[in-house]
Symmetry: D3
Subunit: 316 residues, 6 copies
């Protein structure tokens, strides 16, 4: 099995298909136009330059097209760059498609949906169960395809559902140790906490923020939808307010985007579960690319810390 | 005209009716029970002690009753206290009622409603006008009676509407200087920005927070209601999102309770207008009780500063 | 079974034995001396005044003595106080002892030790296992008796070991979900993270800070002991540094007392586990005393938030 | 009428006169020298490269000279750049002068002075009026020519006076709503608050900070001048202290450069007026270049937020 | 020699003259008036209550009178209080005067002036020397009598000059180690840095802030006076700006009251010298009252830390 | 005597030997490889490019080799760069060695050791003296060679010992003014406070952090070593704890890396002495390169301030 482009070392030859994520025209210091390509496969992305390009090249090598590349990995100002020796657009005969180049969750959409559904099935509180089921159904396709964020953690296809599934497992494990926790409320909060991202973000590929996402945010959007769902299902119960509170408070602090801090035991734990899963994802993926006895790069969402991979740890 | 109890100086005699705001039973250091009364009239409130009280006194002098008091204003640990010499419950013959003792806005509810209505009438954008009119109508009675806050500023009967009216005047004056401002959006935002307080707070007297108010807050509650009103009135337009954004962002920063910072020109100005009116209210009321050439007490919501009343200023 | 003194409501009669936690002499406003007693049983503590006391009373009613009290629970400035009607020192015939009045962990010392030992037994890394076993053995008695803190969370007899046991359960549950975690290192870090408290604190009763505790702190003290233990056991391996790092970084940030932030996956998770268990303990104990549909008091170590007990939750 | 260079889109041809703001010599990767020119007209500035330049070009194309340029607007690393095709120095026959290329306030110096003078004329307090008139006269030329800042807001010729005029309008409008404000003190504070910038900054073109400006700052410099003016005019009155306080406190907080926070009602409002006008200037100029339905770039002085231009708003 | 009242331990008898610093009337829980006296001698102050007082006592025992007291030191809510057994006003025959009870610097005014003068004499830069000499002369009496602050450090008679003298010694010692420091500028800055306090504060006894002190502050006041002195002495040199900068920046940060941070080597060191002397004064005075092996109380101006007195240190 | 490369002005010719600090391969925009060399002598470092390089050049011009260079100093994006005209590797005949190119302290290692030893000799407390002597001896070679930091201050050969010597002089001078300071404890703390850097850092050249340095830090490492030394020397005395406290607290605040804030008079002063010497070193070295009447660049470790060199100051 071929390793991805980001696993190549400096000096190594690379020859394979890649997806053009973005293509930007520039003018070189000799006055001639060139293209800066951001190329990606499932392992991540790498920059490349295409020199002396004209109108035709700009058309051929634009974003979301697939190319076959032969090149050498070099180091430019501390970041890896691919020095292109040969390049051609992919043809139908090559039998490659866009999804071959997008990082996706290690579990399939069906598996993710099955696991989430089984947690909903286990709920005993009918109000929470009905609201949760209704909203998951309403947004099901996006829920299973969207990333959990545009960067930092779970920024891959199906990242959102994969994040939720691991949080549900944490919720179950922790509730087993602290029986005072209301699992129905907690599971419901876990499943819905980031579901507003299906409105906040543009989609699973080249993800950006929508206008609504920018101006209102996934937290307020989902609190809204819960209230509306309760109206539609004619549910008038304190649980509606509690569930809205879990969504509103799951970032824990005002400066992190929550208009209310957690004021329910389950809201406090939801925030912790969310953090643990996001942080494990960030650390695992950074340490995977690090050699034993070395440190990762500084990880911005981990308060800009770098992490050490013990020298006795097996390379993964 | 009689000045209120909080305008009395230490050593002065006071003889008038007062409303009992709260009454708490204590046990004195000699082992005998006593009552701590918080007494109020329109000028504000003062503490008093009633010694050697029994079950009967506790019943007679409980909260929301009116009493006739003869006493002397003394100073206890830097705060004024009323030393009671004589006290009796008011009788129907006294012809006094609870509202005589509550501070209220200087404008009547009708005047406030008229002024707000004329701003709605002037709006040219039908979406904003319909949503605003619908929500004002829905909450009209509470809107005209509630305070704008439980403490700090406009904490009196009709304080919310009085605050809104002054903000509307500021909005009009400022828009006259900066024609790029969209007055329809700004007026609409001013009128609705705190309307969620009618759900967040318990009412105009002895105001506390409701459970919904604590767990969701007036900001999220009103953003919700705007979305729902748009659904009911079948309005699908960007203005709905813009108006929700004005409400969500009017506290400006996450640490002050807004899940989103202002990202519209009108949202930024709404935040400034809200501050100016709240701060003028706080400063005016504190300086009114201060002699020329002296400083007010430290004002907590003004970053704990004290303010100076110039020695050439006429006492108000 | 009798409920404790802190579960009495205002106005209720109380008649039982209590331990004097502290006794302070004062002079009343009538010039006569009196004693302020802090009385406790397993449910918590309550203040009481003893009026017109002389040298004899001061001797009889000093700290760590047990008394039989008849009194009434009253409210003084918002806090409960016990109004004493009768009081007498306990006699040997009463058959009560100091430990009857101290709050203790719900598990016995033997159970706690067994559970901790089984985790040590499961370790596969001989270096971590030997260091951990050696240090647990060295401090065994204090480890099983000390509280985890002087206030805020697990501030009861055996609180430290009880806290560690629950953290171990969390560590096991979370490692089951994220197989990249090194359980030997994580268990070892959990067991030792607060063991320096047996030097930092004075003991299980009337706990205060020692001079060493104040000047060096439990974090540096234990990092020290790990290094020394490694020397004694002649262990030269990177694991010694890793384990020291887990202890040093478990408060996560400099402003919370850690000289280094977590730079190991296990260090990051240790910090989260520590927080979850401390916070569950604080919330559970506060909500236990709160009625459904009401809020707890503001909880200082929970960023001064108050927590809501849903109205549908059964009273515990 | 020709639109400015910064309004050109990528790919567009540009042919017009431009002012060289700065010219820096570099050595290209082929070892040959080149010039980096910063070119400007009233609409703003754009970078351009001049390749293979020698001593003669360096002399011809230095700062503050005017050139005629033919070129194409390109995109270089996300910023616009002008690719020069032809360039020549302007000649006297071209009839262009430096001021044609500097952004200036929309009102003339005479209009600005007239409006400011009328506010001074309206003052009733002779002390404030005399001090204000004296200082405006003393610094009149610079006051009418200087920008209000080197960047962020009103950074154009006559920006200072233009800023003051709009603040005076705000002061008048707000005082009309809150009659407790002392307009004489407020107008005086508005007019003098930034007048120290005429000493702090170097002048209207290529504005930098003077040594005095760096070491003392415009706030302390003007507080000084007020005291000195009072001495010269033999005014001994509390108003001198009040006016100095308005100047000292107008940045509101220590961390923003004010040695004292506002402690006068007028000082508090001065700070708000200053902010509103600066922020409207920043937002208006950024939104002017933004298309409906899009966001501005992140605006550093607006806490790095981006602002949305509603899709229904007419392009300005 | 008699030790002061604050050195008495709880339970000890005290019999001596004391100065009444303040006297406040209260009403006891039995309804009778009483006086709260704050009594002081050179060692510090202690509270006392005088029960059942009438108009006559209020007149006899008012602030700034001297009394002979017999009493016992007791503990009230953790603070020492003097339980008065006998009290009488001092008579002329007693031969005591107010200054006997005020804490004063350990050096006489003449000694302090001599030492400061010798530093001025040593200056080689005539501009700095003349400005410094002129301002010291102008404020000489207040300079030698005022405290350096109303609380926290050097809050005693002649505290300001005593603080300056020790800072001059530090300046000399440090300049001996770092020859790049300009001693003339540094000495001048040390001598003038707090001289504005003679305008900011009301005087050496019962020190409060003046209106000018509150609204302008000692930093701006003295920067002003330096500029004015330079005008009067017809000095036009950069040193005037440098010296003003030292005064303006000596609190180092905006949030601590400096409108500019240090931008001169000497300004940076002035700030450090100021801190070292203030902190040594606070620590020395707190540790003087602490027994070996114990901690001081928490010291607010030392970031609320408590300090340890080693058990091997001799009691002072 | 030849001045160093960093003292050359733009346009100046440079011809001398330089040490290659680092050498990085890049690919130019024309597709050909080149080397980016960082060249240094005792005055500092400068970047240079070597175009059209092949495998041979990469071998010849790698890090830690010495070269003879003829070139011209140019300006590239605001930073100086050396444009190479001729370059050749140094040969044994050139008689140059690596240490000729490293910045070193102005005092020799022997002088530094002598001065430190004399302070140890003067100590009267045998415990502190023995521990200090033992640890200095143990780490003597590294102590005399290491820098005090990797950047910011004293980042040169013998920087650590040079820093300590100046701090000892400050300690002596300040103790002369405040006799309450315990000089033995203070000297001991000064000498050991940063000694852990000999474990934390990799060495005097191309200094980086070791794994232990990253995970534990010099503060915890040295606190550890003090405890161990006391064990080895069989010293059981409070001084061991006090000395550990000085080391632990010398960064003063948690956010700056100290697990405990200073709680001893000597610990507080140690922190101030450390700061004064570091800051004098930074300011002196920056001002040395600045012309009179100009400002330094912004200095990051001085809170990003720039410093002014008065126009009357002689250039150094």
């Amino acid at each position: 099995m071929k390793k991805g482009v980001t696993f190549c070392e400096v000096g190594e030859q690379f020859s394979d298909f890649l997806l053009i994520k973005s293509s930007t025209r520039g003018v070189a210091s000799n006055g001639k136009p060139f293209l800066t390509l951001m190329l990606q496969d499932k392992s991540g992305e790498i920059e490349a330059k295409l020199w002396d390009t004209g109108a035709e090249e700009e058309k051929t090598y634009h974003a979301e097209n697939i190319v076959k590349v032969l090149g050498e990995v070099t180091n430019y100002r501390g970041r890896q760059q691919l020095k292109i020796k040969k390049i051609r657009p992919a043809t139908p005969q090559d039998g490659v498609s866009v999804t071959d180049f997008l990082e996706t969750a290690p579990q399939s959409k069906d598996e993710l949906l099955d696991e989430i559904t089984s947690y909903i099935f286990d709920m005993k509180n009918p109000h929470l169960q009905r609201i949760t089921r209704h909203l998951v159904k309403k947004h099901q396709q996006a829920f299973l395809e969207y990333p959990a964020a545009t960067k930092n953690h779970h920024e891959f296809v199906s990242g959102l559902a994969y994040h939720v599934v691991h949080m549900l497992r944490l919720a179950k494990a922790i509730s087993g140790i602290y029986p005072s926790l209301n699992t129905d409320l907690l599971y419901s909060g876990v499943i819905l906490h980031d579901l507003g991202k299906t409105t906040e973000l543009s989609g699973p590929v080249s993800t950006t923020y929508t206008v609504e996402g920018n101006l209102l945010g996934h937290i307020s959007l989902m609190a809204n939808e819960i209230a509306q769902t309760a109206l539609e299902l004619d549910i008038q119960a304190e649980e509606v307010t509690l569930l809205q509170h879990l969504v509103l408070s799951h970032h824990s602090k005002g400066e992190w985007g929550s208009p209310k801090p957690p004021m329910l035991r389950e809201a406090e734990i939801l925030h912790y579960i969310d953090n643990i899963d996001a942080r494990m994802n960030i650390m695992d993926r950074a340490l995977e690319r690090t050699k034993p006895g070395e440190f990762t790069e500084r990880l911005f969402p981990m308060e800009n810390r770098k992490f050490y991979k013990p020298s006795t740890e097996n390379e993964s």
